[in-house]
Amino acid sequence: MNTVVCMKQVPDTETLIKINPEGTGIVTEGIKWVMCPYDEYAVEEALQQKEKFKAGKVTIVSLGPDRAIEAIRTGLAMGADTAVHINDAAFYEKADPYATAAALAAAVKDLEYDAIFCGKQAIDDDSGQVPAILGELLGLPVVTLVVKLEVSEDKTKAVATREVEGGHAVVEVSLPAIFSAQKGLNEPRYASLPGIMKAKKKPVDVKTVSDLGVSVEPMTAIKEMSLPPARQAGKILEGEDAVEKAKALAKALHEEAKLI
């Protein structure tokens, strides 16, 4: 089974976000960059499908500046075969979900695949839109929030379990299709030492957006960024014992906060 994984490099979840003085974006110095955690599930799923079918190729596609190569190498070290790095800092800077999906769609067009795996959302912009837009641009069905996937022997269809409000839905979809990975789909493997060594020699096709012939403009624009108002530490409720403290808390929630 041939698959494509759309993977984004994002700040580590530990990162404290700072806004630049112009208020247009975040301060990127000093950030530790990692593969988006949801994209780890996507890579893992692609590898497991390849292993199940004992054939095929996993291609990682990532739009990002120079630094994104590190996350791409991580994916190759996990076991992906090749990668396309859309390295175009100027485009990336302004790219909204639509422009991102358009660039990814252009890169994917030349590849052979039975399925495309994405993460549920990139944990930097938190937009959760790219898989759906990619589906529209490629004319493919999109199954989001997948927690279980079974591909038919002949690779013409798949049965996916997806998270819905209050439970799960089981859907059948024709392939090729796009799947966005939710936590629970699998347990991503770590890159092994031999894997890391091999990854260095795996081919990465570097392209600019104009190489791909993409000429879209973003559909949305960030006008200003800010930090949330700092939350002040509040009141510690005192009391002789735990029961007294519980009473004080209930009283505060009732009389001050007016929540009960």
Partner: protein, 326 residues
């Protein structure tokens, strides 16, 4: 192209609360946009629900009703809504950023060849243009975002706006959509929905959440009891440590790789307050922390803190809440 069109999501035969929230907000904004507030309901046997939308401000209600819409299938719903949208031709489209809304909205926007701004927590209109505020980096930052083209589409995080009863004209119109079924490549085989009437964490007004300090799955009962005491708008949540230990299902997880919630009240029990957890609940209106470690980072964000053993605090708290509620 004046007017605001709302997607009124239906679940279990009822219009979701989030749809009323965005209808109320649209009613406030429409003066600056011009035109009317319209809503669109899609489903099977949903015609009777229209009057509820009128109560919260819808001037016009489009109804797409048929057996083919019994289950949510993105392609079918997108086709239907896109036809209504091209008929009404609104300046703004609003949806709720519920689980379904998050799936539906970007697909709809791409079909209309415009962008959409997802999971917004505030909206305003300035010289006819929508300005949407949305969290990024799991709430560690906010961005003000504008759309380049019309219709300007935004999905709104549940609980961001209050519901107000201001009646709209409420004219209904049944729309007969023509579905291109050759494009529908997905079919719902089965739905497994929990029987519980608890609201989803993203929509709950009160969340009682437990972490590693809960010690085991059986102890979550005391959190459920407290949540039930608060009433039907309350539910429980969990930290990743509790989920990874297998004590709670992943659907309960709050945080950067779980749900982002903003209830009126969030009670964190035995949760230390790691940055990834705080990211998911930092916008809660009131935060309570119950933790035996006075140095736990959660206390720096909590409006009210109790430093003690949660197993000694939670049961009497439940009793007190019961007394107050009478």
């Amino acid at each position: 192209m004046p007017g605001i069109l709302i997607y009124a999501e239906v679940q279990k035969g009822e219009i979701k609360k989030g749809a009323f929230e965005i209808t109320s907000k649209a009613k406030q904004l429409v003066g600056d946009v011009g035109g009317e507030v319209a809503a669109c309901i899609i489903g099977k046997d949903v015609e009777g629900l229209a009057s509820e939308l009128a109560k919260y401000g819808a001037d016009k209600i489009f109804i797409v009703d048929g057996p083919e819409f019994e289950n949510y299938v993105p392609e079918a719903y997108v086709q239907a809504f896109a036809q209504v949208a091209s008929q009404f031709n609104p300046s703004i489209i609003l949806t709720s950023a519920s689980a379904q809304g998050k799936d539906f909205t970007p697909a709809l926007a791409a079909r209309l060849q415009v962008g959409s701004i997802s999971d917004c927590v505030d909206l305003s209109v300035s010289s006819g243009k929508l300005v949407a505020k949305r969290p990024m980096y799991a709430g560690k930052a906010y961005a003000m975002v504008e759309a380049v083209k019309e219709p300007q589409i935004a999905s709104v995080r549940p609980n961001s706006f209050a519901i107000e009863e201001i009646a709209g004209a409420g004219a209904t119109e049944k729309v007969a959509v023509s579905l291109d079924s050759s494009k529908i490549k997905m079919e719902v085989k089965s739905l497994e929905l929990a029987a519980s009437e608890e609201p989803d964490q993203t929509e709950a007004e009160i969340i009682v959440s437990g972490g590693r300090g809960m010690k085991g799955p059986e102890n979550f009962k005391i959190l459920e009891d407290l949540a039930h005491t608060f009433g039907p708008t309350a539910t429980t949540g969990a930290s990743r440590a509790a989920v990874d230990a297998g004590w709670r299902d992943h659907s309960y997880q709050v945080g950067q790789t779980g749900k982002t919630v903003s209830p009126n009240l969030y009670i964190a029990c035995g949760i230390s307050g790691a940055i990834q957890h705080l990211a998911g609940m930092g916008t809660s209106k009131v935060i309570v922390a119950i933790n035996k470690d006075p140095e736990a980072p959660i206390f720096t964000k909590a409006d009210y803190g109790v430093v003690d053993d949660l197993f000694k605090v939670v049961p009497p708290l439940t009793e007190e809440v019961k007394k107050i509620k009478g």
